[in-house]
Amino acid sequence: MSRIFQLWASNTAVVFSGLYLLCVLGMERYGFLSFRPAIFPEVIHSKGVAVSATVFLSVLMVRLLVWPSGKGARLAHETLWRGVSVVGVFVVIVGLWLGRVAYFEGTVRLTEGQDFRGTEEEYMQGSLRKGTSASVPEMGFLLRTITAGFSSDGNHLDTLSAETQWPSRQAEGEGKKVKLGRLPSLHGRVWLHVESLGYSPYYRLEDEEGRVLDEAFVALALFPPGSEDYFRLLLPHTFYLRFNPSGDLVPEETAEEEAASGAVYHLRIARNKDIVFNGTAVPGEKVVFENGSITLEPPRKWVSIRVVRDPGLLLMIAGLGLGLLGFVMGRGSTPITLKGGEQ
């Protein structure tokens, strides 16, 4: 039994499990054959990484426990700091598995003035990543305004932030105002940050007699200028849209003001393979096609907001700090003795 234990605690076990962990990390992160490499949270919370990291860290813990020690006061000193390291490594393992169980991540795309109630349906399709027992975070806010700073050519974002109001259903001036930036910030137990920007034109679809068939904001990937996105309604038509703003877009701006600023939509309407309209329209202009018309009002901005809850992350950081502290302090006063008495 002691022979097996010695083997387990040997350098070989540490090297092997460490390398295997690196291989698993590399495989899942970069996937040298994979066409859709996993993103970091997927990797760190995957079963392969959790299992192999646990094996690696367990071996490390055992290794810390069985290091030969000094005598007397040195023994007590070593034992204390080695104990701190072991606790640290254990906390990292707990954090890793807690994250795997309770991790939540999702992205929501919100237009200025839009409520977010925190339901699962509001998150973008395909953006949800949940731990094995994770629930959707309970939260809700109103996205009031988006502030964006552009590069001189208008094609890149320099700054991006969103002002929110928590909770959402509050009168003007009430509720807590929270500014979200591109760096994650902690709100309750949830990390939030804004990512990308786009425009949400307000469309109004009318029949030939002027009756409104449908109207709504539609969030499209129209940034940077020249990017094309499309939407479909109940008709067999597809509406392809590009938007070129000029100057800053203000939500309160009227159609006339927007038109005067030089902003323009490039609209193409295709009915399957038949292009029924291809041209430009200033915001607020009615575009007539076939037996109806569509009006695209001045757009509002939208941002995608990443919502992350990772209860294991702080534990892992704390455990890592504890482990390193114990290692450094213990190592500072004691030579590391390998098996067979080598130094």
Binding site: T12, Y20, L33, S34, F35, R36, T238, Y240, N272, N278
Partner: protein
Amino acid sequence: MKQGFWIGPLSLLLAVLTQLTLQPGGLEALRFRLSGGEPYRPALEATILQFNRNYATFFDTGGLTIGLSEFPATDLVKRRIFHDINIWRAAGLWLIHDKQALEITEAVALSPERAIVDTREFWQIWPKNAETGTKGRGSKSAKIKTRYFLYRDEGTWKVWDYIVYDESDVMPPVERERL
């Protein structure tokens, strides 16, 4: 330490074998990487030709569903096409699609499961009275460019969406991250 020397290469070998055997489509991915995706081109071209044959037939027959099971498209695409056909049929018309030319300008497999095909197409489109067979008003020549998005489902390529551009439009570069 001699024993330890083999640990590194063995770990790497183990990782590679795990990747190939446990990851779904691992061997297919390896074949794709080695070939650069070129062997997929004939199948992609055949899929687009088949798609357009069926597409025209559905419109030309007022929505006869013969050939629907071989139509290489997702249910959403089928629904969009038949939605349009049914609107024409409700008006007593069939929208005839007479293909004049179809040239495949690009066929690229992005992975063993995703591909993009660009075409130049020329269609004569006109409404035909379903009762009398006479040609209605509104005949037009559609010179278009089309970008087809395909995915492979159980070994069969299917069109899951397509974007139609005017002949004079410049097609944007493919945004792989949005696929």
